[in-house]
């Protein structure tokens, strides 16, 4: 009778041991995976970056662009002032080409566009095309400058992250 009892107990213990071994293996595998993730993905040098509210160099270039005079001595700002927001912009090619050249260095990091716009921003005319699709994000994701030309007429330069 004792032998029967012992046999039953041994089988129970074997089953229990296997359960423990399997549980241990699972625990160790989970730990190893966690360690691997922590050291490979999270363990890399942590890059610190500031959320930019403005790009100083792009703003400076924008101001200089507006101050640039053409061959007749009229600067871009004055030329834009004469433009009508509702009609097609009649700016000379030299002004557009100058703008393209001025803002081309920023196109490596950003999408860039310059617009003649009203205060609210629902009516605009493109001066420099963005050349990439403008993401449908919050306007807070765009950085740039807006300069008043008239009561309800502004010229704005906007930069947005391409990625």
């Amino acid at each position: 009778m004792f032998n029967k009892l012992l046999n039953k107990n041994n089988r129970g213990q074997t089953g229990e041991t296997i359960t423990w071994i399997v549980a241990t293996v699972i625990i160790i595998v989970i730990l190893l995976v966690s360690i691997l993730i922590a050291s490979v993905y999270l363990g890399n040098a942590k890059k610190f970056s500031l959320t930019k509210q403005a790009d100083s160099l792009a703003s400076k270039s924008f101001f200089s662009y507006l101050l640039t005079k053409d061959s007749t001595g009229v600067n871009v700002y004055e030329q834009l002032k004469k433009e009508q927001l509702d009609s097609k912009i009649k700016l000379g090619d030299n002004v557009k080409n100058l703008g393209e050249k001025v803002f081309s260095p920023y196109r490596t990091n950003y999408g860039v566009f310059v617009r003649l716009t009203n205060k609210v921003g629902d009516n605009w005319a493109e001066i420099i095309e963005p050349k990439t699709i403008i993401p449908k994000k919050n306007w807070a994701d765009f950085i740039g400058d807006k300069i008043k030309l008239d009561d309800d007429k502004y010229v704005s330069m906007s930069l947005f992250s391409k990625y």
């Binding site: 004792f2 009892l5 012992l6 241990t24 730990l31 500031l50 160099l57 200089s64």
Partner: protein, 173 residues
């Protein structure tokens, strides 16, 4: 014949299970500590931000209200531009930083229309410039940016600013 009580054997098993639980507890704790150290033990790499600040500070000095600052093209400015722009390259006196020089700043001014170089000046550890051509995390951080400016006579310039920050010992491990 010695009679073995099967219930006494179970008590022995309980002891082994307790030791096992302690072992698992230590393994889990050690793994958590390792993961925390591997994440928080790495420093933040702020050299990119530092190079960006250096570039912005230099740009602020060179271009004011849309116009090129007066005297930028003169030797007097270029010889002491750090002082004139209120920039200093002082660093902590660790890892031999002060002797080696941890910064490099170079300004190239081009004619915007023709692309010809008009002026070039630099300061700092020029050996760092070589590393900008290479790629790797433990190399100095390089930032090269361009801005457009003009003088009061409507002469147009493209200003190229190269900023390099080393400080690898504290930012990359």
């Amino acid at each position: 014949m010695k009679i073995v009580n099967p219930f006494l054997r179970d008590l022995k098993g309980d002891k082994i299970v307790s030791v096992y639980w302690f072992a698992i507890l230590f393994i889990v704790a050690a793994a958590v500590v390792y993961m925390v150290i591997s994440f928080y033990g790495k420093p933040y790499d702020i050299r990119g931000v530092e190079a960006d600040i250096l570039t912005t500070k230099m740009a602020d000095c060179l271009s004011e209200a849309g116009y090129l600052r007066e005297g930028v093209l003169l030797n007097d400015f270029q010889d002491n531009f750090l002082e004139k722009c209120k920039i200093n390259f002082q660093t902590e006196d660790v890892y031999g930083w002060r002797e080696q020089g941890q910064y490099y700043l170079e300004v190239n001014i081009f004619n915007f229309v023709s692309g010809q170089i008009i002026s070039s000046f630099n300061t700092g550890n020029s050996n760092l410039k070589e590393s900008c051509k290479l790629s790797g995390e433990t190399l100095p951080a390089c930032l090269e940016r361009t801005l457009y400016s003009l003088d009061r006579n409507n002469n147009q310039y493209a200003i190229n600013i190269l900023s390099i920050v080393k400080k690898t010992e504290k930012n990359v491990q």
